[in-house]
Symmetry: C2
């Protein structure tokens, strides 16, 4: 696996980035003074502002731009809902217990770690160098200690490699067999492990005081709340199709063994869209024409099956027309997802769309593509874009009887020619008594094919035999007096259908973490200082105000600037600490603040200010009005720093260190 | 209790408002197709947009305006944290079970309902009319059926009334006694009730796969996460005091018996501020001067004790200087809370601040004022503003050993004269062996008073006796060879203190519901149509675009307008349904959309548009540029409709019905 590099081409060392993110309080382990709780993180002020800006951009990019119906549903969810959706039975991972130490391992991860450790030991024994996957290394260091440097048989190596390639696809029994077959023991005790057991990943709880046992869960996704409100949303949308609902909120997943920092946590922010579309007519999208020439980096199923990770770069128009991407609506959202990620500052060269393999998808899904971002942890799934077909609406409708369907007046009434059956009910009752209803139901259920056959028989012999399970011998004879079968025409004016759902689903925390890696680099010289080059639109703070010193004369300028910037909606912070201007800027480079305004003695004389840009550290000097206008234009994305630095006089003044 | 009226003075009938809010999907019961789950509500598109706008305003008004440090902490919380905070032991209500039916009642509510029903029956018997509290009526209708119309003894009436006045203050045993004394039985069965039992209101869950029993809770408030991060936040703030943290997020409360719609729910959005302040120097606030002349409606403790609900209207300056409000910081935030609520559109005449009675407050609290809003459910606590003293930081520091304190270099070093003790450790060890440490600890813990006394005794007799619990007989003799006590001077350069916390805590859902009541009124004529007069800043959608018909010629105008409005950040919706313009506007009056732009055949001719204002239904007609500029000025609050209607020509054109 390739190692990650920064946007300036430096090797990206997570061991250097993480302390910066922690020190600047982008995020921090929750409950740290209580020893912490694995898989839970708090966002500090800059992380929180970054998150709010990303969510705001998401809402503008999707909800407002596409007129989606946003809903905010509860996280607490009754058991019945998640039973129907399949989560109670299937949303589980396999865990293994070490009976000696009581330790619990995720079975697939354990097999993976042990086999990888053995393969590495084998390579060491063979004297081969390997490119190291840091994340896996770190894991191994922790758990799998002192694997003996031992050469393996070639056949064993091959078997291990094949197992690893398929590691995501094994069930509990298979994992149990692998553990036995490969003689995998408790890593710290060497004890034989208990067989894998399913562990449901939902947090269970008790709603209300009268429940005798847990009767609810914290939602694993925001989607179900949207499905349950389908009817009301369709009504709100004045019965007009297609439409999308959207939701931003926390979801939960009780990871067996959380790892990889912000990437695998137990409580996380999601933003999900459920786009409801008519399954007939190829799931076209009215705006597909606008995006069809946009290129995407696609790693399709076929390429993966061939064992390659080399993606194709195709326009979405080509991808849909050649069937690589299933339909226009799915393709349209893939482009919109890419637009969104690039707006945030995601590095285009570290973005790809990977198609799910057939066995990765839920059985009902028609197609699924993940937007993956490359990080020091490898390629990470950050946005899923799935065609969930009509599955969810159908199961909830079947369970509750709620009509989760669209009823549409047909432009052209549909004329159907079919075999219809008339029963002589007056005679049926007296003849079959208590069985009359069962006979009627059996007749009603007859297929068109059978009706055709039976109508011929009835005409020929004057009677027919019908399968009637539970009535008499299971077959009932009906004659001409009782039944008539005729081919007739029927006109349908209303069409009823269950919409299909295209679901773009964003893991906001994963996107935030990947973004922080993508915008991170270090400035050469004076100790390689960290810089986070967030675009102005998502940067936690837009402008830092820096008075040269704590001199009284600077205070009124600071106050006025703060007020003016706030009025035009530009978030700003004052740093009037006693540190040198250089140090104060360095601190804010780590916080990703794109612009800095210095107030110095020249300001007191003529009101002029200097404006500094984070990435180039270049400054311009101009009047307050000009500087404010420049900041506004930069933050709104109407001008670039290049524009500004051509327009306003450059300044090379104060010694900043 | 007074009944509620709309802003136009009409009687406010919740039975009319609620169906509007449900139909327009401001909110809707969660999981309705599964029969619903009490105390859980989803927000539909307009409710969600309203909530997002209110949160956005809150963030601007508090976090940005006051430079607060926003954090986003997890909802999942380990048990140890909430054990320390006191929630595991004390965050409970008393519940009563009817053993016959299995029904569960909140004990205080049950007593309240029964006594109120009996008092009402008594008044009916006496032929007195009473002003009806609708909410309580509704409750009684449901639960307490057919209370016999029966006259009570005057003494009983008085006893009931006294009990009701104190109903919030009874513990479980007292409630049990009241139930026996007043012969209160299971309302549906007439059975004797089980004694009240504490029911903890936190949702319990199991974090991770290895827990044998529940080991965590969903947080009951966002505050604890902020306290636990205090040290990191102080560091982030470069050790500078005072400062405030803030947090917006869901909290949970497993209500025994949810009621009153959005006002008492099991999952709710909170926005909380923890302002950390030096307890010395009277908790002054640097901006108090700016707000001291603002008037507040205050219902203080003394007035309430005198049995009155008539508030005083005072400036916050007077209230603080006379000690009615405990300190400047508390007073400053009360003004800021009022500012915020009025910005949202809260009716000033339906807002008051009520001081907590001594027995309502947590024992550590110094003072607490609730901002209450008047609704059809009576006065509702929507914002709490409490002085939590140093309680939370102290208990967490004691439990974990984390230094949740501020260390400040003293401007003037502090010279302290005190009795210091020197122990001859070399002799102490051999003499007391395993008890040596206990003896040393006991000596170290001696107070200054005792040290003075003992020093005299030591001088006089050459030996002293010290209490040493657990060592020998509990008293240990020490002589001159072992101990020396002297009065000496010590200079302290650093001051260490635990900050006090002022906590404004907002229940966003309650504010939203109250706001919807405050802005609701009905337009007379043609069937009294509902209008929700949200101010433009919080209205779910700002502008409705209405083409006269679905004529092709209107489409390019709509497209252009949508794009232009979106670019200036003004949310808008198109309604090109076939309903009459009047009907379309009526629908959007219910949604609270403040402005409407009509596109008609005149538009096609000369590009002019009409702009309609929701409350007056007046229209102006002008060029596209003028109309867009007017909308922007209205939404930004730079001009009022009155300004616009003076500036642009009035239009009385299309028949809207």
């Amino acid at each position: 696996m390739a190692t990650s590099t920064t946007k300036t081409g430096q090797p990206l060392d997570r061991a250097q980035l993480e302390p910066v993110l922690r020190r600047r309080m982008f995020y921090t382990p929750s409950f740290e003074i209580y020893g912490g709780e694995r898989g839970l993180y708090d966002y500090g002020p800059p992380g929180c502002a970054l998150q709010a800006n990303v969510v705001d951009l998401w809402r503008k990019h999707f909800v407002l731009e596409e007129d989606m119906l946003e809903v905010d549903c509860t996280m607490l969810t009754p058991e019945a809902v998640l039973k129907t959706s399949g989560h109670v039975d299937k949303f589980a991972d396999w865990m293994c217990k070490d009976p000696k130490s009581g330790e619990i391992f995720r079975a697939d991860h354990l097999v993976e770690q042990v086999l990888e450790a053995r393969l590495k030991a084998d390579k060491d024994a063979r004297g081969q160098t390997i490119v190291v996957d840091e994340a896996k290394e770190a894991r191994k260091k922790k758990k799998i200690k002192d694997t003996k440097i031992e050469k393996l048989d070639d056949a064993v190596v091959q078997e291990y490699e094949e197992t690893l390639a398929k590691i995501d696809n094994y069930g509990g029994d298979e994992l149990g067999e692998l553990i036995k077959k490969f003689d995998i023991k408790g890593p710290t005790t060497g004890a034989e492990l208990d067989p894998p057991r399913a562990f449901n990943l939902m947090f269970q709880t008790q709603i209300g005081p009268s429940a005798e046992k847990p009767n609810g869960y914290l939602r694993p996704e925001t989607a179900q709340g949207q499905f349950l409100n389908f009817q009301k949303l369709l009504e709100f949308n004045q019965q007009s199709m297609p439409f999308a609902s959207a939701s931003i909120g926390k979801s939960f997943r009780n990871e067996i063994s959380p790892r990889s920092g912000l990437l695998r946590v137990r409580e996380f922010l999601m933003a999900e869209i459920e786009h409801f579309v008519d399954p007939e007519g190829g799931k076209k999208h009215p705006r597909f024409e606008d995006v069809k020439d946009v290129k995407l980096t696609l790693l399709n199923r076929k390429t993966q099956l061939a064992g390659s990770t080399k993606p194709d770069v195709l326009t979405i128009g080509e991808a849909v027309s050649t069937g690589i991407v299933d339909n226009e609506t799915l393709g349209y959202f893939m482009v919109r997802i890419q637009d969104f990620l690039l707006k945030l500052g995601i590095d285009h060269s570290k973005l790809r769309f990977r198609q799910h393999m057939a066995n990765e998808m839920a059985h009902y899904a028609a197609d699924c593509w993940d937007a993956e971002l490359f990080t020091t942890y490898g390629w990470i799934e950050c946005v899923g874009c799935a065609d969930r077909s009509a599955y969810d609406l159908t199961v909830h409708a079947n369970k509750t009887g709620a009509p989760l369907v669209v009823r549409e007046t047909r432009a052209e009434p549909l004329v159907i020619e079919e075999y219809q059956i008339d029963l002589e009910r007056k005679k049926l009752g007296p003849k079959f008594r208590k069985d009359a209803k069962s006979v009627e139901a059996a007749v009603d259920a007859l297929s068109q094919e059978l009706r055709e056959k039976l109508s011929l028989e009835l005409e020929k012999t004057g009677k027919i035999e019908v399968q009637t399970p539970g009535v008499g011998s299971g077959t009932t004879e009906l004659d001409k007096d009782l039944i008539k079968i005729e081919k007739r025409k029927r006109t349908e004016h209303v069409r009823e259908y269950t919409p299909n759902v295209i679901e773009p689903s964003f893991g906001i925390g994963r996107i935030l973490y990947s973004l922080m890696e993508h915008v991170y680099w270090t400035r050469e010289g004076d100790g390689a200082r960290a810089v986070l080059s967030f675009p102005p639109s998502v940067a936690p703070t837009k402008v830092l105000l820096v008075p040269l010193s704590s001199h009284q004369d600077f205070k009124p300028f600071i106050k006025k600037l703060t007020t003016r910037l706030r009025r035009i909606g530009v978030s700003n912070k004052v740093d009037d600490s006693s540190a040198s201007i250089g140090k104060r800027y360095a601190r804010n480079d780590e916080l990703g603040t794109p612009f800095g305004i210095t107030i110095d003695f020249q300001t007191v004389k003529d009101g002029s200010l200097t404006l500094r840009e984070r990435d180039s550290t270049k400054q311009v000097r101009a009047s307050e009005d000009d500087i404010i206008a420049a900041v506004k234009a930069l933050v709104d994305g109407e001008e670039t720093w290049e524009d500004i630095s051509k327009r306003l006089p450059l300044f090379e003044g104060q010694d900043l260190d």
